[in-house]
């Protein structure tokens, strides 16, 4: 189904849609408040953008540097060309240790690779431990937002899910009590897991270490208790030096949730004694995107989701309206790289207002890339037939002045009918303004005729 059709369904409940819109806008406002408290905010964004651009121009070298430093620190480094290989590597490690239960903190990469399904098929129990992610996992749904996975759900719905799966009393709808129930449930999982998997926010070439940021402490609870820790990262998560973390950590939490910092910014350099630590470096289409000049900068993304929270289309259509698991503006420029045909309508789910680019902490030109994808997708014939037809007809008319004049006359004449029939999506919830009686050219010709001849024509 197209984004527009899904969004239409989402909007069937106007009160709920308004709530979704306002909830996300509140996060945007919190972000603004924090950003305004940092006098060097714009300098930070510029520095982050330039560091990322530099890194992408030396990506292979930095990955090699990272690999050798990490290996020297006793971390085992693996390389995966695609999602399938990533899943095979992770399963291989788990199988070798006879792992039956894996606790996992938030990792969009493993969503991208469909790791959970793969491991479950091999009989491994996977527990997502981020509260929001656990809620949607129990519903067997993907996250609707990359930072707040269950942002589309109301308290009472979470209560239903917990009643069914965690045995909480029916009708529980207090956020504090629901969170407490999840804490108790997940604590048991942390204490009995055989291995932990985390994502990676930043990997530092200079040190071979990596940083994982959470507010809940779930990544740490998993990683520091389990005998095996696997960290999975896209190859674009590399930054050159440890001091660059200062730039990115100042931007990340403020942009994501309007906090000055995440609660836990954990720096892993070595496995703890007796523990095995693995890092899986995943390409899965990233080197292809790196080679596409127009879209290369999308790889600078630090997954803060500020562009989601500010996007008037995302806020009013919800994450499940998008065909890719990363929704919103950034998802709409990442998804066509994966599959143009399947996600071809995502770049059209935008007003091109540019608010996404304005809040992006690494200054990705998101709305420009959206426009470029639209052109590319249309040129390759992935646009819907009615749009192609409409564009052809428009082109035909605009090239022929006589036809254009006729079309104008017809439009002026039949406008009331267009408003009445609501054939065009635009007119479904809006009335086109009343048409003037004559065209501009008719008016000009008439005015010229009525004008008295000039007394002193200019030389």
């Amino acid at each position: 189904m197209s984004h527009a059709a899904n969004a239409h369904d989402f909007l069937r409940d106007p009160a709920r849609a308004a709530w979704h819109d306002q909830t996300l806008w509140m996060v945007r406002v919190k972000r603004d408040r924090q950003a305004a408290k940092v006098p060097d905010w714009e300098a930070l964004r510029e520095a982050a953008s330039q560091i990322k651009e530099h890194t992408l121009s030396r990506l292979a070298e930095y990955l090699e540097e990272f690999e050798s430093r990490a290996a020297a620190n006793g971390i085992q480094v693996h390389w995966a060309a695609d999602g399938e290989e990533h899943n095979r590597i992770v399963h291989g490690i788990l199988a070798r240790h006879g792992v039956r239960k894996l606790v996992k903190s938030k990792s969009m990469l493993t969503e991208e690779c469909h790791l959970n399904r793969h491991l479950e098929e091999h009989g491994i129990e996977v527990i997502d431990t981020d509260l929001g992610e656990r809620i949607v996992q129990l519903q067997r749904k993907p996250p609707s937002h990359i930072v707040m996975p269950a942002i589309h759900l109301k308290r009472a719905e979470v209560g239903e899910v917990f009643h069914e799966h965690l045995g909480t009393p029916r009708g529980l709808d207090d956020a504090q009590e629901l969170t407490e129930a999840a804490r108790q449930h997940l604590r048991r999982q942390f204490l009995t897991a055989d291995a932990a998997l985390t994502g990676v926010n930043f990997a530092v070439a200079e040190t071979g270490g990596f940083v994982v940021c959470t507010n809940e402490g779930n990544a740490d609870m998993g990683a520091h208790l389990a005998p095996v820790h696997i960290a999975c990262m896209g190859i674009e998560k590399i930054i050159p030096k440890q001091e660059h973390l200062g730039v990115f950590l100042r931007l990340l939490a403020r942009s994501a949730t309007g906090q000055p910092s995440t609660v836990f910014s954990s720096h892993f350099y070595k496995p703890r004694p007796g523990q095995e630590m693995h890092i899986v470096l995943v390409d899965n289409g990233r080197s292809r995107q790196l080679g596409r000049e127009d879209y290369r900068r999308s790889l600078a993304c630090i997954r803060c989701a500020a562009c989601f929270n500010t996007c008037p289309v995302y806020r009013r259509s919800g994450g499940y309206s998008y065909s890719y698991f990363i929704a919103g503006p950034i998802g709409s420029i990442l998804a066509p790289n994966v599959d143009k045909a399947a996600h071809g309508d995502m770049p059209f789910a935008s007003t091109l207002c540019g608010s996404c680019s304005a809040v992006c902490p690494v200054k990705i030109d998101i709305h420009t890339q959206l426009l470029k994808w639209r052109q590319e997708i249309t040129a390759e014939g992935h646009a819907p037939w009615w749009k192609t037809l409409a564009m052809r007809v428009t082109g035909l008319v605009l090239k022929r002045p006589a036809l254009y004049a006729l079309a104008g006359r017809l439009a002026r004449h039949f406008l009331p009918l267009v408003n009445l029939l609501k054939l065009d999506p635009w007119t479904r919830s809006r009335a086109l303004p009343e048409a003037p009686g004559q065209s501009f050219r008719e008016w000009l010709a008439e005015t010229e005729r009525a004008k008295p001849p000039a007394k002193n024509p200019p030389p």
Partner: protein, 197 residues
Amino acid sequence: MSRATILDAIRRAQPALKPLPEPAALGVGGRMENSISQFVATLDFIGARVIRGRSLEEAALWLRENLPAEARLASTVPGLPGNVDLGAVIDPHLLEGLHTAVFPARFGVCENGAVWVEESDLGHRVLPMIAEQLFMVVRAADLVADMHEAYRRVGQAGLGFGLFLAGPSKTADIEQCLVIGAHGARGATVFIWDEVV
């Protein structure tokens, strides 16, 4: 083994070298306030409790007065009370049920209320997450204004694990309602001491 394939693909795709910027030259850093009052205000904002004192004895007194006598207490700060011998705990799972973890922070960051904690000061990496309550000790002289100054103090060599810890664990995953105490500690106290009063 896809290592060579991936690196080849990247080398073919990566653009001509773009310069690595010097963040300071772009105007980054040195613009935030470095003061105890700023640090305290930020800690207050992120939901941490602040206690100020002249000496560690005051911290010990506070702990004795405010913690239940039967509470399991693990301390890595010499002179502060603890009844769990972290050195004798081999398996970190056994720390479950810990009431309070007491440990030192190397320094505090005024702009975000985080403190830098190193593995060697914890005994176990999981200590600041598995305990129900945290009691962190930092000297008033050890404050930095922003994260750039912070990273100038973070060591690299020999470090296995370290973290910036900013207040108690929290989540707003249910309807954006802030709940303190997600998977980590339900409360965090920062004891700032030896300031010149």
